[in-house]
Amino acid sequence: MSKTLVEKIWDAHVVKSEVGFPDILYIDTHLIHEVTSPQAFDGLRKRGLPVFRPQQTVATADHNVPTLNQLQPIKEELSRYQVDMLTKNCAEFGIELYGLGHPFQGIVHVIGPELGITLPGKTMVCGDSHTSTHGAFGAIAFGIGTSQVEQVFATQCLLQQKPKTMKIEVNGELGQGVTAKDIILYIIAKISAAGGTGYFIEYAGSTIEALSMEARMTICNMSIEMGARGGLIAPDQTTFDYIKGREFAPAGEEWDKSLAYWKTLYSDADAQFDSVLTFDATDISPMITYGTNPGMGMGIAEHIPSTASQVSSEQASFQKALDYMGIEQDTELVGKPIDYVFIGSCTNSRMEDLREVAEFVKGRQKAENVTVWIVPGSKQIEQQAIAEGLDKIFEAAGFQLREPGCSACLGMNEDKIPAGKYCVSTSNRNFEGRQGPDSRTFLASPLTAAAAAITGRVTDVRTLLNESAHA
């Protein structure tokens, strides 16, 4: 029988399937961090249970670690306590920890792929909604709550209903200044912040196939922002080339065996999806969000929609969002002065993002009124950026290259956007207060964020790209 990619991976991991009950799904890899794990470890202690398969669990500290002077004891007491608890819990339960000071430390969704832990055909979970990132490799990867973290600790399994499947096809060539982040912001703007709820999404089509692994991770990362449980992309030569030679990737005979299996991981031509959507890459321009959920996005040159154009039941919420953001319906965002630029997060903190930004800002200077933070996704990326001299380029432009962590994506550490200030951010959420109480976030690609840093305003990056072409 023909199957979708999700069905192939799912079915290979079902320990037990019984009518009237969720499936018992086997989890290959469990990623944990300091925020959503302490109560799960506590639960194990209360039940008197060990971690069933500690060698299939990997831990890092990322959500509330400082991005300056990372190796000094963390100043903020509760953050320090939470990171210390993770260290203590991992030692007690025999889990490998890439904590502060470890060369592998970084954002959990950045280090998994970087270390070759994330592989095609795996089931992977983490107490973090952006676990969907790992789907870029053709894995079933999704975020879970703390009770489920405890469940995976105790049993290496989860009780799960088989999700519905959706295929999102994007075909055609991307225009100038349009990147993976713009593709996903465009899709979310089209189908809304709830448009994928209940589904696992497979991204396909010529545009997706032409993307690098890092760009694919950006796409899958934001699947959750349309409500989907996860997103994934069938593995191909791009995937295999990326994995080969990484720290924990299979090698030798194991590689050949793995590769043969990975090559079977695609949706059969006649597989049935519960829903199929198709988009044309040439319709996508650099995107920016104007509101307080990731579905409130538009092409950067467009006007903010009018409140009256919204469904009547949604007009009050829409207006509330515009009021929070301090912007008017039916106006342009281009030219709006901004205060901060944050380039980082599990969406856009990878080497490719940093290289792209460096290439763009080389020889340019940030606007005086703007603070620019570049926060790499991992220690390895930070080191690589320095090895390539990107730190010098950033410094010359007035950008600060900091140490790795989740940082101003959610402001659990000191990196917060002050009340009322505007930030162009490469992160994945523009919720009210996400980057700090009463902060205002415009989500955009690294390129668009870099352009805003240079001009101090919301800017259509294409105008600057053309400028440099003429220079």
Binding site: Y26, G145, T197, G227, G295
Partner: protein, 194 residues
């Protein structure tokens, strides 16, 4: 987990759509390492001014609205996987959340903690908001066994769906870990046979 069967209670209406988990419990309050005490910071930035005084116009601060049922607009609980959102709602004294649409992870987290998420139609939700607009003590009757919600004032009644396994977990007060632990031998066999 506590057992859940029936509940008749007034409601707290929160007629806002797309309420994300960052509003339910902002990230800066996720630093606790136990499950208790999150209720204090439920809807923190909607409930408190910057100087920690109460915002009097927010419904949770209005003593006229008291109840164990939170009723919210469409797409409730979108965003993060933080289970702290469910803990905060429960810790603040709610047993049920009603909306016309829930985000997946939030719904799962709620059920895993004995907080019952009930999805009703847009029309039924609008009627609840309208009823409570006229009488802030208007009660709802929730019957998990029968899977029904009744607007006691108008008499309107609707069925709601819940996974039968999850329903039995709520009614009997047991959880997924108990369920899988009982079948651990199958897990070991699965590992050996792959």
């Amino acid at each position: 987990m506590r057992k859940f069967e029936k509940l008749t209670s007034a409601i707290v209406p929160l007629n806002i759509e797309n309420i994300d988990t960052d509003q339910i419990i902002p990230a800066r309050f996720l630093k606790a390492t136990t499950r208790e005490g999150f209720g204090e910071n439920l809807f923190r930035d909607w409930r408190y001014n910057g100087d920690n005084t109460l915002k009097t116009d927010f419904v949770l601060n209005n003593p006229a609205f008291k109840g164990r049922i939170l009723v919210a607009g469409k797409n409730f609980g979108c965003g993060s996987s933080r289970e702290h959102a469910a803990w905060a709602i429960q810790d603040a004294g709610f047993d049920v959340v009603i909306s016309s649409f829930f985000a997946d992870i939030f719904k799962g987290n709620a059920l895993n903690n004995g907080l019952l998420p009930i999805q009703v139609s847009d029309e039924f939700l609008a009627e609840i908001f309208s009823t409570v607009g006229q009488d802030n003590t208007a009660p709802l009757d929730v019957d998990l066994e029968a899977q029904t919600v009744t607007n006691v004032v108008t008499g309107s009644k609707t069925d709601f769906e819940i996974n039968p396994y999850k329903k039995s977990c709520l009614i009997n007060g047991y959880d997924d870990i108990d369920f899988i632990l009982n079948q651990k031998q199958l897990v070991v066999e699965f590992e050996q046979n792959r």
